[in-house]
């Protein structure tokens, strides 16, 4: 009798996937897929663009990285996977993480208003970052 195979998605952290993960973990900021590709090929020169995207999907589904999608260009990837909020600078586009527990507390109220079954809530602030305010 054939052995039962439960998992649909494989769960191996291959060399390529690990390289991508390490790139994200090594950075304070929120790199794009392209930036990750550039950095990853320094360690693994043969890695391809498609593999970076495949790895990012894998890592996201495994909960190891967090994908941030604002409309402004490319998705960005975040090593911080706990619930948190984002601030985006209207001048320079800088993206900053912060956590506002009060925002998380609004999940019930948001579910009631929207009639959705809530999975998560996320607050986005738009404004001017400290650097651009100075300049």
């Amino acid at each position: 009798m054939a052995q039962v195979k439960e998992n649909k998605t494989e769960d191996k952290l291959t060399r390529q996937r690990d390289a991508v993960l390490q790139v994200i973990r090594a950075r304070e900021d929120h790199p794009t897929a392209n930036e990750i590709f550039q950095a990853a090929r320094e360690h693994l020169p043969t890695i391809s663009y498609a593999t970076v995207y495949n790895s990012l999907r894998f890592l996201r589904e495994a909960g190891l990285v967090h994908e941030i999608k604002f409309g402004d260009g490319a998705s960005r990837y975040d090593r911080e996977t706990d619930r948190h909020d984002h601030a985006i600078c209207n001048e320079c586009g800088k993206l900053v993480d912060f956590d506002l527990p009060q925002a998380a507390d609004l999940i019930q109220a948001a579910a009631r208003k929207s009639k959705f079954q809530a999975a998560s809530v996320h607050l986005t602030l738009r404004g001017i970052c400290p650097d651009c305010r100075k300049a």
Copy 2:
């Protein structure tokens, strides 16, 4: 002496721009630029894709429509221009407006945490919409 011309951006609601505006105002949902283009050319068969984009930029800058950018594909346009929040269905992608005044109240706290000078805050709920919950 030449007449002084103050406005940098012109402010005429041309036939094309008005057609785009009417399409958005006529819809309950949040059409993409492509959907707007399809609908607008029923009234104005010669309108071009680029003009739809130009008109959307004009209408957005004039405050007549609201642009919603989630990473999931194309920008969507909303006739509702007052501050409001959004719920997105993780199953079918449906986008719904709602207003949670408590979210607006968090603008001060969010500014403090992020160190940004705040312009706006916006709460996004992700979950399952009523229709998908039934199915």
